[in-house]
Symmetry: C3
Subunit: 114 residues, 3 copies
Amino acid sequence: MKLVIAIVQQDVLNQVREELIKNDISRITVSRCTGRGKATGEETIYRGQIVVPALIPKIRLEIACNDEFVDTCVQSIMSSARHGDGKVGDGKIFVVPLENVYQIRTGDSGTEAI
Amino acid sequence: MKLVIAIVQQDVLNQVREELIKNDISRITVSRCTGRGKATGEETIYRGQIVVPALIPKIRLEIACNDEFVDTCVQSIMSSARHGDGKVGDGKIFVVPLENVYQIRTGDSGTEAI
Amino acid sequence: MKLVIAIVQQDVLNQVREELIKNDISRITVSRCTGRGKATGEETIYRGQIVVPALIPKIRLEIACNDEFVDTCVQSIMSSARHGDGKVGDGKIFVVPLENVYQIRTGDSGTEAI
């Protein structure tokens, strides 16, 4: 099992969720965050001072997947979160190992609980 | 060491924290999120259109545990976050491996720092 | 690759980001949370009742690092997030294994995508 964490632009949330649902992935946790990737050629020194670039509002998605769904999940987010042919700031997807999952309602654990 | 992440209903936050403290687990990170599990039989297609189900406000807990506390932590959340015999939306608990922890104040790391 | 998660005080956000940028780490995700460490000697029982300590506003940082940058990242946060010689509430740093990273814009994955 994996925990897929995606940081995406705010305007794509609905289309990412639609694409995930089409691929049978409907359980999701969403939160607001701000972030900063590395813009190429960005100046971070100005007159000898470090300039901390402004943080940009983003959406953070968290999705628990059984192993056989990870690729589908990643591809669904990738295709639906990209602007045009891909723009700076489109975001990142992180895949973290997930050792166990528990469903609070039933007490089930493991792949059944996802 | 493990990082225990729980998504629970908003109204159980205090009782979950009480139950954790009773079991000697007092360090916790709390944030707001919205989420959606898979409600059984839920219609996601309506007149040929995909309907993205509304996101529901939830609480996200993050707790770093030494291995011998993981079961206690999971059971404490499970028992205190459940509504009656268990209701749809009660939430999930995720267990992620944690390779290291550092306490910023002292510089300590590892199991001592938890 | 690792996912470095840090919980720090609100007032150090800019100096932590400056220190990270000085060390060539500019990609970061920031969110608001509340939290509670274990204050030594803190009373959690008052007249036989459990008292749930108030949650304090904090900042949560998430940084994906290639293995050779993890120590630099942790040390940068540690030195810039500490108040004086270290105060209760300065925060924690968690290091979680990261199996893969995808850049949404380019479709790149792995260490290149960080």
